[in-house]
């Protein structure tokens, strides 16, 4: 679809949110609570934190929740009955105010859940998700989207991308059919405009390396000692993976009470030693550096091979969340010049 250019002023955006509510859509947007900005359900525009560079956690939980029921079961004397989760019951969700990198994150995530096996639950959620992103006018020292094929005004992954061009007005790019459906249902709120150069309204994020260069380098780096060096201070938690918009690893668990129970999937992280621990006691990724290597290889090599997609969007969340200040951009740059 060709991108349609529109103007949307902030009062119209406010109306739009109210209309979403009335139409039974759940709107999630960055909300600041106790000093932390994260995606939360909103019904009015004034709850939204538009100033935040990046929420602590990504928007991925809208399609890939922390904990998600897959099925429920019940054991009787000689039988077990299983009931799958009803994928039709998922609500319509609008992600509003996400950043272009958040939106871009849905692409590798979709690739993970749809290559080879198509995950019904994930796709059902994704189908009901509309992404209305807002371009970045600010960036910080952790941002590196431009190094991984993104940019502060990137439309990829968004259904509508808003760019603030004045205190009262957004330049709205209608990117997808889902976006157009919103436009069509709310034509009174959008004004026509010709294409506008967004650049003056965007943050400046310097490109330090390219994802392709990393991909190239990795071909010869599996046995390198760079992983040991970089991972020295890694404490082995899962914070990086859990805040990452593109990490899709999960664990499947049963939880039962007596003869009844459910099966759910929940986030997991390749940073944990337990991730690859065999029952025998053998662990193919015995050291933390091997887990770090896996993280980089997966995002910049394996995913590219299997899914034709890099697994990193340059949002910098993992670096912000890391208790030991593992700055992924810095390490990637180091790899690129190795």
């Amino acid at each position: 679809m060709e991108i349609l250019n529109k103007l949307l002023d902030k009062t119209a955006l406010s109306t739009l949110i109210e209309r979403f509510g009335k139409a039974g859509k759940e709107v999630y947007a960055p909300v600041k609570e106790n000093g932390i900005t994260d995606f939360a359900k909103v019904d009015t525009i004034d709850k939204i934190d538009f100033e935040c560079i990046a929420t602590k956690q990504s928007a991925k939980s809208l399609v890939f929740p922390r904990v998600e029921k897959i099925l429920s079961f019940e054991k009787s004397y000689d039988d077990i009955s299983v009931k799958n989760v009803d994928i039709n019951a998922f609500p319509e969700v609008v992600a509003l105010g996400s950043r272009p990198c958040d939106a871009a994150g849905f692409i590798p995530l979709d690739a993970i859940f749809s290559t080879d096996h198509v995950d019904e639950i994930f796709n059902a959620r994704l189908k009901k998700l509309t992404v209305i992103s807002i371009s970045c006018k600010k960036a910080d020292e952790y941002c590196f989207c431009t190094s991984v094929n993104g940019n502060p005004g990137n439309t990829a992954g968004s259904d509508i991308l808003l760019t603030e061009i004045s205190d009262s007005t957004y330049f709205a790019e209608i990117v997808t059919e889902k976006g157009k459906a919103i436009l069509d249902a709310n034509t009174d709120l959008f004004k026509d405009t010709s294409a506008i150069d967004k650049t003056p309204h965007l943050a400046d994020v310097k490109q330090e390396f390219t994802a392709e260069a990393i991909n190239e380098k990795l071909n010869n780096l599996f046995e390198s000692d760079i992983w040991d060096k970089q991972a020295l201070r890694c404490v082995g938690c899962g914070a990086c993976a859990y805040v990452c918009p593109a990490c899709g690893c999960f664990d499947i668990q049963d939880e039962n009470k007596g003869n009844k129970g459910i099966r759910y999937r929940c986030w997991d992280s390749c940073g944990f030693g337990l991730f690859t621990l065999h029952t025998s006691g053998h662990n193919p990724r015995e050291k933390q550096s091997q887990r770090w290597r896996q993280r980089i290889f997966h995002k910049f090599s394996y995913q590219m091979v299997q899914q034709k997609q890099f697994g990193c969007v340059g949002c910098g969340r993992c670096s912000r969340a890391c208790p030991a200040d593992m700055n992924i951009a810095e390490h990637l740059k180091e790899i690129s010049i190795n």
């Binding site: 904990v67 429920s72 939880e255 009470k257 009844k260 459910i262 759910y264």
Partner: protein, 145 residues
């Protein structure tokens, strides 16, 4: 509507309270049938995570009981348990878990009557407090419908 009957789980040691409860039976002293006794070798064996598990699984009240100080069959299990309970109670209290719902007692093998009295008074107390919905809900909401 019938009266609320609390679900009570009793974690007791084999040597004193379990034997004491046997004596309650031998003495034919009646007490509330809301209690279910689980036998442990010693109070020192009783894991606090089993207590939270019991609450999460629907218990409205818990009784933990063992040998009086210095009477432990294993000499010191009850002393270790006592300390563990002190700390656990403090933590529960701080976290808003209702410590009135965990009754600790020493009941010796000779105190059959005391066991009946402990159960009955616990039963009355838990009745007053009502079902422990806070904790039950915690373990069922979100996931189990």
């Amino acid at each position: 509507m019938s009266e609320f009957e609390p679900k009570i789980v009793a974690f007791v040691c084999n040597w004193c309270t379990y034997a004491g409860a046997d004596l309650t039976g031998t003495s034919r002293i009646k007490y509330s049938s809301n209690v279910r006794i689980i036998r442990f070798p010693c109070t020192g064996r009783i894991d606090y995570m089993l207590l939270t598990k019991a609450f999460a699984s629907g218990a409205d009240g818990i009784i933990v009981s063992g040998c009086h100080p210095n009477d432990c069959h294993y000499t010191s299990g009850n002393f270790h348990a006592r300390r563990r309970w002190m700390v656990f109670r403090r933590l529960c209290d701080f976290m808003g878990i209702d410590t009135r719902r965990i009754i600790f007692s020493w009941v010796s093998a000779a105190e059959g009557a005391k066991w009946a009295q402990i159960v009955n008074s616990a039963n009355e107390e838990f009745k007053k407090l009502g079902p422990y919905e806070n904790y039950h809900k915690l373990s069922t909401q979100e996931i189990f419908e």
